[in-house]
Symmetry: C2
Subunit: 499 residues, 2 copies
């Protein structure tokens, strides 16, 4: 067996491998606060690139940003019963507004609040209350607002990026005069998310509707993008909810329509979070660490100068500086290339492996011999660490963007092939049970089968620790029979073990 940079490997222990990739790439670490993580600069840069892309798309589709309070009064949460049922149970509650000495050299809470406040687990209720004030007439609609924020859910079992008590996200909240317009918005955002996941994160997703028993609490319809990780588990990577008039009714968002009738608005909400980074890690990384898709990589190219003495050092640094300047003039998806020269004085092997583990798409080595030949050594993160290609420098500068595009496409295609090879059509409950029951099954994956969109099928899933992921939007209607109930249905549903 070859030695790998990450121990254990994916095959040996997938969950532990995931944690070790995060450590090796210096993406994040758990903090002293239960369930909360510190997102370190390399991990946060991934989030900034995600933010930048999405923010631009949200604005291009007519949305504006705003900011609503972190804390929600208890009475606001009580207005939407189903919503509380699903959300507000495990959350951080602020009860005091002061600290005073406890008499033992420490501090204790003081100044009890008349009404406790909850740190937002999501902002439907507080934003709904604001929209109720803002909306009077059909002229005030639509409202198309997005918020970038931190939210908090008191999770019992946490895992970095995938499930943490505090996480960062964006939450869109829109209000419309008609049901049709709100549904269009919900689906437009779903498409935007899917395109982002596939084009930017190189993460293939299935767009679908959640079955009724997996909907967001209070939603009429919840749409999702579902991705397959390398252990064949499903990751819900983003959701878009059509809330009907439910939240408008509980918050009182009413408007005088053109026909002079007072009506409740139709609302939507949608979000993606730092969980996407977990998805990105688990989709692309290998036993040597992170593989960052070029479009979100914090640095796309790292230049590693190689020299023996101070005289050479200056020559090599100058050459590298010049190379960096030339590369930064190249545009990759309309943006300047992100290029870094690692001038640190550490061992070459250690330096190279740090960048491999951090997943930088291209590593360039430049030494005196290369300068003589006007060449350089190129290593791609999507190849074996040992493979280097020697290229003429000008050739490389003119080809760098194409190579990065090739890497981006390779990562997507590889992930898509893997996913498609692990979706199984199943035609009976026996087959279904056998597939998921086999714990050491080599045929792990998603199962697609006819199934009734009804909570009664959940009883077949729970013992297997399997969840219904979605009813894919892109499928033909056909006559089928639910494998659980024997009832006639015309759509297939996707099932999987999941994060």
């Amino acid at each position: 067996m070859e030695k790998t940079a990450i121990t254990p490997t994916r095959v040996e222990d997938y969950p532990q491998w995931y944690q070790q990739v995060i450590v090796a790439a210096d993406l994040a670490e758990m903090s002293p606060v239960r369930g909360c993580m510190i997102i370190k600069p390399w991990g946060y840069a991934l989030w900034e690139n995600i933010q930048q892309y999405l923010d631009k798309r949200f604005k291009a589709t007519g949305h504006v940003n705003a900011y609503f309070p972190l804390l929600i009064p208890l009475s606001h949460l009580e207005t939407e019963a189903k919503h509380v049922e699903g959300f507000a149970k495990e959350c951080a509650v602020v009860t005091h507004h002061r600290l005073v000495p406890d008499g033992k050299g420490g501090l204790k809470p003081d100044g009890e609040l008349e009404e406790p406040l909850v740190i937002r687990p999501t902002s439907e209720t507080i934003i709904g209350a604001a929209y109720a004030k803002w909306v009077k007439s059909y002229r005030d609609l639509p409202i198309l607002i997005n918020q970038w924020a931190n939210v908090m859910r008191w999770e019992m079992r946490t895992r970095m990026f995938l499930r943490t008590s505090e996480f960062l996200w964006q939450e869109g909240h829109t209000a419309h005069a008609t049901s049709e317009e709100a549904i269009d918005e919900t689906l437009m955002i779903l498409d935007l998310y899917a395109k982002f996941a596939e084009d930017v994160l190189a993460m293939p997703v299935i767009k679908g509707a959640k079955p009724c028993f997996e909907r967001f609490p209070g939603a009429v319809d919840t749409y999702t993008i579902e991705a397959m990780m390398q252990d064949c588990k499903a990751l819900q990577a983003g959701t878009s909810h059509f809330l009907g008039q439910n939240f408008a009714k509980s918050s009182g968002i009413q408007f005088l329509d053109k026909d002079e009738q007072l009506k409740f608005a139709w609302t939507t909400s949608w979000g993606v979070s730092t969980r996407l980074i977990g998805g990105l890690i688990m989709t692309h990384s290998d036993d040597d660490g992170l593989i960052a898709p070029p479009r979100v990589a914090p640095e796309q190219i790292v230049i590693l100068p190689i020299y023996r003495n101070d005289a050479d050092k200056e020559t090599v640094f100058n050459y590298c500086n010049n190379l960096k300047i030339q590369l930064e003039q190249q545009l990759f998806y309309s943006k300047e290339l992100r290029v870094h020269i690692d001038k640190r004085d550490i061992r070459g092997g250690e330096r190279t492996w740090q960048w491999i583990k951090k997943g930088v798409p291209l590593r360039i080595e430049v030494g005196m011999k290369d300068i003589e030949n006007n060449s350089l050594a190129v290593a791609r993160r999507d190849s074996s660490p040992k493979v280097k290609q020697f290229l003429n420098m000008d050739m490389f500068v003119s080809q760098a963007v194409n190579i990065l595009k090739e890497i981006q496409d390779n990562l997507f295609n590889k992930a898509k092939e893997f996913r498609d090879a692990h979706i199984y059509e199943v035609n009976s409950l026996n087959e279904f049970n056998a597939f998921f029951a086999a714990e050491l099954n080599q045929d792990k994956g998603f199962v697609s089968c006819f199934a009734l969109d009804d909570v009664i099928i959940e009883e077949y899933l729970k013992p297997l620790k399997v969840t219904a992921r979605c009813i894919a939007l892109e499928q033909e209607s056909s006559n089928g029979v639910c494998i659980f109930t024997g009832k006639p249905v015309n759509k297939k549903m996707i099932f999987a073990k999941s994060y």
Copy 2:
């Protein structure tokens, strides 16, 4: 008296005028949560522009972003005694992690935490604990990290943007191997802030050191940028702290230096917040509403199409679309112009006044007659609302950037002239008392005088409700006598009533 868009005017009731400008420009509103505001899209867009500029400057000076937890364990706060004294007293305390039915149809907190958690009022302690883990050797230094985040201080008296319980800010936290390097960082950031305030917000500031009794709790030196509002009160617009080894000692940030000695690091912290928006409003706005400096204005040019019937409407809209495209090709400080066409079907007067109140630097009117003459009507927000200039369209397109620069410069110069005309040199305690005692004094302003940097002078200030703002960095040393103590000093100090 002419009728103004804002009632009351600045002269009639300055604090109330300020609130009304915020309402009229639709920048923000108070939320149902005590002391917390909702930052509405027009206000948030100002913050986004501030963020974008600063973030770019921070990165250009070697900083990276990261994210640390919102909640701080009580035990962390107890480590830095002075810091707690100054900060942690009034803060939001999380004591429970669950809600359960209260038996009366409502909810109540449940699941008491073993250790209460505090919503960060600032992050020195939690970030210090992380740096203590990360730093081992001089090779790990400097650490240059910034965080964009929300923070919370339980304020008794709140005022939108200026002082709210929750606010948005950036906080830089750096650790260095030497005192000199940390001091250089502190002052470099102070310069960066001053340049930003003056060049981008058009808000003149005085760079200075806080007297010892006004320092950040736990800091060795606190530097500030101080601005004068139109009511002559001072606003602390940003601070940069040299923390010496205080926080490194309480957090345990130690490193093995080149000389093999174990040493404590030298740290800094620095921040600006959404308070800058309050400063911007109070520096430039007038009795007709907000005046947004072009460099941060959410829209720099608004185009107002004028037409009588549907046939004209199409012609005018086409002309406006074309004008917008041409304007957007112009670069203003290396960025595309932000241009908006207001196509809403509302009364022309109402529409125009909305944009005046929102402070858009340039309003362009285009009607059928203008199209025939290939001209347009230009109104500047820094002129009277009645003044319009008719310009040839091509001429305007080529001149738009220059006009915006002129407005930006005008706003700065006007504010600077006002400020400089309201700084008074005072040579005795009698003069000092007389100046500030006169409540209806027409000579309101800043007072500059010789004063001892010692807490004993505070007793002279408190009865007058005056604060020591700073010891300006840009002043000659000279032999003087403290007006309060009679002791010899060589620097003048600035005093003012303040926000």
